[in-house]
């Protein structure tokens, strides 16, 4: 669990007993003392476990856009110098500007299930970046992404991915919910294709999370937000719905059974997830403190928790029956 109290600085807590107790990292994520840019970490924003062959490894993304790694289950953390000290970092991260509301951050740490040294990350602001040597060197991967806020017609970086996902069974297929649309990439093409243009025009393709079916690389869910004029970041027209594609973004179907007919939900980029059921369960949390669940792949929803604080992240854990 990452934390930023706002007053005491960032840290990470870990629990080995299903959340009954929490232990703070003895060496939390931090930039190196005395480094040239004198950066200090303001928030730990994203946590991702390492490759299945590397138990105990975790990665953390922060604000500003630093990358950190733990090799002991989150007890101690070190900077990933290949990223944090990359000669292009200041340019890619638009340092020292922090153009994202509440601070630019590193998120969407994706590890290739075939190769622990092959990783993707997302920067807001900055774009998608890839390493093939375990984080030693990085390159931008943003061709095809719209970026009307940038002066160039096809810049290499400077984009605003909100959430990037790699399909676990087809890791050369990536999906991205960007500030400027929904995209899919076949890695060999090295080019994002805006599949969000296939969304209904009155809904648009702006949002924060994108979640993938654990077995079917053609199926994904998004939760659209109103991205028109002043960007209210709420359900378009006050009618909340998820949308599902079953054909890799060629078409999208509205999923609003059981959801309120009038509500202005905001769903953050980490606040949607899926399980591994035969009929995949889909879950999302709102900034107004509700968690909604669907056990039929999004067709119908029910609220399973309410009156919670603002929800930043929802994760699914498949517990052994003895632990339930």
């Amino acid at each position: 669990m990452d934390d930023k109290s706002g007053h005491l600085g960032p840290t990470v807590f870990h629990s080995d007993d299903l959340g009954a107790s929490w232990t703070e990292a003895t060496r939390p994520p931090a930039f190196r003392t005395g480094e040239r840019l004198e950066r200090s970490l303001k928030a730990v924003f994203w946590l991702t476990p390492g490759h299945a062959d590397e138990p105990g490894v975790w990665y953390a993304g922060g604000s500003p856009q630093g990358l950190f790694a733990s090799h002991d289950g989150g007890a101690t953390w070190d900077p990933v110098d290949g990223w944090n000290d990359h000669p292009m970092w200041e340019t890619w991260a638009e340092w020292p500007d922090q153009n994202t509301p509440d601070g630019s951050m590193l998120h969407s740490i994706n590890i290739d299930p075939r190769d622990p040294t092959h990783m993707y990350i997302g920067l807001s602001s900055g774009g998608v970046f890839e390493t093939t040597d375990g984080g030693g060197d990085w390159r931008p991967l943003n061709k095809g992404c719209d970026s009307p806020m940038l002066p160039e017609t096809e810049p290499e970086f400077g984009h605003d991915p909100h959430c990037v996902r790699v399909h676990p069974l087809r890791p050369d297929r990536l999906y991205q919910q960007n500030h400027c649309g929904i995209y899919r990439m076949e890695r060999a093409d090295a080019r994002w294709v805006r599949v969000g243009t296939n969304m209904p025009s009155d809904i648009g393709d702006i949002g924060f999370p994108i979640e993938l079916h654990p077995r079917d690389p053609d199926t994904a869910w998004v939760f659209p937000m109103d991205g028109t004029d002043v960007w209210p970041r709420t359900s378009p027209d006050g009618r909340p719905a998820a949308y599902i594609t079953r054909d890799a973004g060629a078409s999208w179907t509205r999923c609003d059974g059981g959801l309120p007919s009038r509500a202005w939900f905001t769903v953050k980029r980490q606040a949607m997830t899926v399980d591994h059921g035969v009929d995949v369960g889909v879950y999302f949390g709102t900034t107004s403190g509700e968690i909604w669940a669907s056990t039929d792949e999004g067709t119908t929803w029910r609220c399973i928790a309410a009156h919670l604080p603002e929800i930043y992240s929802v994760e699914y854990a498949d517990l052994h029956p003895s632990l339930r």
């Binding site: 005491l8 003895t26 190196r32 509301p101 509440d102 909100h162 953050k268």
Partner: protein
């Protein structure tokens, strides 16, 4: 010298409201506190040694921002957390 601990940091001191620490400067006292109560210093200063925005340090009745400020055994140091916000960067995680 005596160091008074604010409530948000008492999880590091076993809920002690005040503790003893030594050092010739505020910075040295913070290092000594961290030696005794691991993790406490990083809640007061960031990785570049800068006092965190909402942390205040008083030497007796005087607020100091310079951690090189000299102190002696008869001084009393008070760590204080300044509360602020309701909006802005006082604890919210990024949205977009």
């Amino acid at each position: 010298m005596n160091v008074r601990i604010p409530t948000p940091l008492r999880s590091y001191t076993g809920q002690a409201k005040s503790v003893e620490a030594s050092g010739g400067t505020v910075a040295e006292v913070l290092f000594d506190l961290d030696r005794q109560f691991s993790g406490l210093r990083f809640r007061v200063v960031d990785e570049q040694g800068r006092l965190r925005q909402h942390m205040k340090v008083f030497v007796n009745a005087d607020m100091v921002r310079d951690l090189a400020t000299a102190v002696c055994d008869t001084d009393e140091i008070t760590l204080m957390q300044a509360l602020s916000g309701g909006c802005g960067d006082t604890g919210r995680l990024p949205l977009s």
